[in-house]
């Protein structure tokens, strides 16, 4: 194993196999010693970056902390709904994060960045726009399948207030898109035919994965603990986004509300238009990213058209 350079900080990055984490690692590499972990597979990394396949909620995870003097953790690794059943996802996302935060305390980690999601606010018809970070988290009201996202958040928040020495920063980004991104929204927009709810086209916010990686690295380097929405100052209606990405629209009847859920279930759209996210295609969850932008002096460098053109081009190449 390559010895880490002593004067550099050591940063543990979880979810290393994912597109966002790869970009974060690439940005940190050189200035920091990076340790990469993922529950899916042992990631091939550049020389000098130790990589592990480990489940964060299992005992073996502690060995990573024993072998490396971890100074900071960037927790990106998350199990998506389409990757596993609810129980395993709960274990990985909630218990895994709990274990991670305990280890952070035990091994005196000085900084933790938690990657959350705007889903925690919940999609409801009564949502005001430009939600601040102190808006109530109503996602679990909507569906059981988002309980893990909300609990992960609450857990991180408890540690944030209780153990200030951990310097926890929670980031709640809007939809992240771009090359290699495998979340529901990205899988959806990569398809030639995208389901839309008839009569509903909620406003959405999108962020390029490169900009999100910049934001995470910025949050890590500036170290200003707290909870922040991460979103650009730009909005587009879902059905417009779908067309801009070169998808054809597949209208799904929206009334009564159970109907689209049944359609999604019956056609097994779990990966890209899952029943529990239907409300997010119906009502807007527009977040205010001003606090993050002002605190960290960050601004996305890619606009909506840059983001959508990747999906357009990918479709042209495939044709």
């Amino acid at each position: 194993m390559p010895r880490s350079t002593p004067h550099k900080k050591t940063v543990l990055v979880t979810g290393a196999a994912g597109s966002l984490a790869k970009r974060v690692i690439a940005r940190l590499h050189g200035s920091y010693n990076v340790v990469a972990v993922d529950f899916r597979r042992k990631v091939d990394t550049d020389a000098g970056i130790p990589s592990y396949k480990v489940d964060t909620y299992k005992r073996g995870f502690e060995d990573v902390f024993r072998q490396h003097k971890i100074d900071a953790v960037i927790h990106i690794g998350r199990m998506f709904a389409h990757e596993s059943d609810r129980q395993r996802r709960y274990n990985a996302n909630v218990l895994g994060t709990k274990k991670l935060l305990e280890l952070c305390r035990k091994y005196a980690v000085k900084e933790v960045i938690i990657h959350s999601t705007y889903f925690v606010y919940g999609a409801s018809a009564y949502n005001p726009a430009l939600l601040d970070e102190d808006a109530p988290l109503k996602a679990s009201e909507v569906t059981q399948d988002l309980v893990d996202s909300v609990e992960l958040e609450s857990l991180a928040q408890i540690y944030l207030w209780k153990y200030p020495e951990l310097h926890i920063t929670i980031l709640r980004p809007c939809n992240i898109l771009g090359p290699g991104v495998k979340n529901s929204m990205s899988l959806l927009l990569a398809r030639p035919l995208a389901p839309v709810l008839m009569g509903f086209s909620p406003l959405m916010q999108f962020l390029h994965v490169d900009d999100m990686a910049d934001a995470m690295v910025r949050a890590f380097e500036r170290n200003q603990p707290g909870i922040y929405n991460v979103a650009p100052d730009d909005w587009v209606a879902y059905q417009v986004a779908v067309q801009q990405c070169g998808c054809r629209r597949l209208p799904v009847p929206s009334v009564p509300p159970v109907l689209p859920k049944m359609v999604s279930n019956a056609l097994n759209w779990n990966a890209f238009f899952p029943p529990y996210l239907i409300n997010y295609f119906k009502y807007p969850v527009v977040i205010d990213g001003r606090l993050f932008r002002d605190t960290f002096g960050w601004k996305p460098r890619r606009n909506l058209n840059d983001i959508f053109s990747y999906y357009r081009k990918a479709k042209l190449l495939a044709a």
């Binding site: 005001p128 709810l197 009569g199 009334v255």
Partner: protein, 283 residues
């Protein structure tokens, strides 16, 4: 020949764009270019307002405003050309036609056009098509958080403090102001926003209601169900905008807020009386 050229031009536009170009005239485009309203790269703002839809709607309302309701508007110079404002009016006529007409008057104000926002009932976003469409022309659900953020972004908001008490009242109660809510005054004080009072005359006669079918309304989940003409009648509408009202200092108690609200209400009553005096014929 000119007609033929025009037809040819329309022919390869397709029906949708052709209709759009018929309604959204170059004058309308020029008007919108003057409106101080920032939007994102696809013409949306954070509340779903969409420039193209708003233009289209304005093009449609133009006919209603000029030829159907034959609106007379006075005092538009009192509406600030820049910066935040709460436009407060009396509410009447079952359907929110008064809001639509005030919105049009503000958007076409020669002293400085503004894209005004209106607050709507919370059930609208759940209605397919209509919900999105209302958002696109500038309406948002009446949440104080929405209002606050909008005022901080220097928007103009139309408020009917009577709410459904005003719009749903019967014909025999016409021009009797109902109880005003205090919400707008709190917003005005929190966000240092001038109040522009408006007296609306004529909307009462668009849908004279003789009774409210309350049990049926309850069954349908509506705030009220009038026994009235099915479509608004072409009554002449008079809008009188008053000078902006500023309230210095914070009110110490809710009673004090109510006192200030009463002052606004009194001002609106005067503006209504002015409109009633200048009106020569109802239809």
């Amino acid at each position: 020949m000119i007609t033929l050229d025009r037809l040819k031009r329309l022919a390869h536009l397709g029906p949708r764009e052709a209709l759009y170009q018929q309604i959204v005239t170059p004058e309308l485009d020029a008007l919108f270019a003057r409106i101080p309203k920032p939007v994102g790269s696809f013409g949306y703002d954070a509340w779903g307002y969409n420039e193209d839809t708003a233009k289209f709607a304005l093009g449609l309302v133009k006919w209603l405003y000029e030829h159907y309701f034959r609106v007379t508007a006075h005092g538009l110079e009192h509406v600030p050309a820049q910066g935040r404002a709460l436009v407060v009016a009396n509410h009447s006529g079952q359907l929110p036609m008064d809001g639509v007409l005030i919105g049009y008057a503000l958007a076409t104000n020669t002293h400085g056009p503004r894209a005004a926002r209106a607050m709507i009932e919370r059930f609208f976003p759940t209605v397919p098509w209509l919900g999105n469409w209302l958002n696109a022309i500038g309406a948002v659900i009446g949440d104080p958080l929405n209002c606050g953020k909008m005022l901080e972004q220097d928007e103009v908001i139309i408020v009917f403090p009577e709410g459904v008490r005003g719009s749903g009242k019967l014909y025999r109660q016409r021009y009797q102001l109902q109880r005003f809510g205090n919400g707008f005054m709190h917003l005005s004080q929190q966000h240092h926003t001038p109040i522009v009072p408006v007296g609306v005359v004529g909307c009462e006669e668009t849908m004279p209601s003789v009774a409210n079918l309350a049990p049926l309304a309850k069954l349908l989940g509506l705030p009220y169900l009038p026994l009235s003409p099915l479509l608004p009648l072409p009554a002449r509408v008079h809008l009188n905008f008053g000078a902006p009202m500023y309230f210095e200092g914070k009110a110490e108690s809710e009673d004090e807020v109510t006192v200030r609200v009463e002052q606004v209400k009194e001002r609106i009553r005067e503006l209504i009386d002015r409109g009633l005096k200048e009106r020569k014929s109802i239809y």
